[in-house]
Symmetry: C2
DNA sequence: GCAAAAGCGATAGTAATACTATTATATTTG
DNA sequence: CAAATATAATAGTATTACTATCGCTTTTGC
């Protein structure tokens, strides 16, 4: 299992951090407390100064791990996508039916997150909340193209590719597998956010799990019917 | 037609501005140049100081129209939704078939924007680019709930409601009209952004119009089939 | 037609942010 | 055990996102 964590780490481009936060206690503490703090006060209000207070270090120390707070957000989201992919691989292993595999995948991508005790310094439930609320800030910037070139989004790309292949396994003729899957992933996050803050944009009620049903229905009806 | 503009204005909650920018030449100049400037340098880098330079006024003057730059973004997005709804109403007027009305609506929501000469101080094509790149920043903040209560998103709500009703006109049994339509609107914007910056998340090629085809297909297959 | 109000320009000032730089100490490593 | 590395502590800077004040001009209400 720990080898898998190693792999997950490797997938994140070195460009995201200056020093690997998973290589020291202080680094892991930065990750752990940044997740807590971003969740509490939001990414806009989050600063390295405040984070430094939490972990008992000056802000200059955190700057040795991450160039700026945006890169830290890139790291957190990359970690999240890698973790999702790892869950996906486990959940779909040894399933013969292409339909069944895709169904499981969509459920993993759209269902609420359960805590995974495997990674001590990461609270996956809270990290999921952060991804829902802030992840678009990771790729809606002036530097997207540059960061994309550097490979900052490789982990997300891998995840999309894996699920797209599952779509094509069900219907090899389908023309929009990437569009469909990114719509599902981003859409599920949005609906979760809307149900909490802008209820007029959704039919999902807080706490209910009907969103997974909606997207499963959407995916299979969209790919099965010939165009 | 001008009366319609009046209506569009009224739909934007007074809470969004301190003084109606459409009530003076200076106000309209603020809107016109803010659209240009945000498009050029991005909303993060956009400041009232820089905007002041463009229009030859100090920043303090702009603060008399908008409390801060976030409220200005709220105004621009609200204007955009109101404008879309007005186009929608015109395009679907006198169409008898519920299916045809919905089809037209989805096309308006997902097709590239054409310039509308009607409103001199607003470049709709550029405003659309801004909405695609920055609109989520309008509602992903610490103050969403408060701003939602104040009615800052009423215009968007109206648009969603109108299209949701078109969905229900085709299939009154469908359980997720709001979820479906917000997924289409937000999804179409994302795909446009992805095709320009993160191509691995989409099958849309720059310039091509296949995105409308995808979403039309998705909508009708999702609502027509019984669950 | 005139006084009061409102609109606008110009300038100054402030707290916070997002860093950068430097120095000193502590720890690890070859 | 020396050299490199990691961290703490402190200081400093440019920019941002405002707020405050003042004086001039234009509009308006009677």
């Amino acid at each position: 299992m720990l080898e898998f964590i190693g792999q997950i780490k490797v997938k994140v481009s070195d460009k995201v951090f200056l020093k690997d936060p998973d290589s020291s206690d202080l680094g892991r503490s930065i990750i752990e407390h940044s997740i807590q703090l971003i969740h509490e006060i939001g990414f806009e209000c989050f600063t390295f100064k405040k984070l430094g207070k939490q972990i008992g270090s000056p802000e200059s120390t955190i700057y040795r791990y991450f160039e700026n707070k945006h890169k830290l957000l890139l790291y957190l989201t990359a970690w999240y996508w890698a973790w999702l992919e790892y869950r996906l691989v486990f959940a779909t292993a040894n399933i013969d039916s292409a339909e069944e595999r895709l169904k499981i995948a969509v459920e993993i991508l759209t269902n609420p997150i359960q805590e995974d005790g495997e990674f001590a310094h990461v609270n996956e439930v809270i990290l999921n909340q952060i991804v829902i609320a802030e992840s678009f800030k990771a790729y809606h910037t002036r530097n997207v193209d540059e960061e994309n070139k550097e490979g900052c989004f490789m982990v997300y790309k891998k995840l999309i590719k894996r699920v797209s292949e599952m779509v094509l396994a069900v219907n090899p003729e389908f023309k929009y597998p990437n569009t469909l899957i990114s719509t599902v992933i981003e859409g599920a996050h949005h609906q979760e956010y809307f149900s909490r803050h802008l209820s007029f944009l959704t039919d999902k009620k807080k706490g209910e799990e009907d969103i997974s049903e909606f997207f499963t229905h959407l995916v299979f009806n969209t790919i099965k019917t010939s165009q």
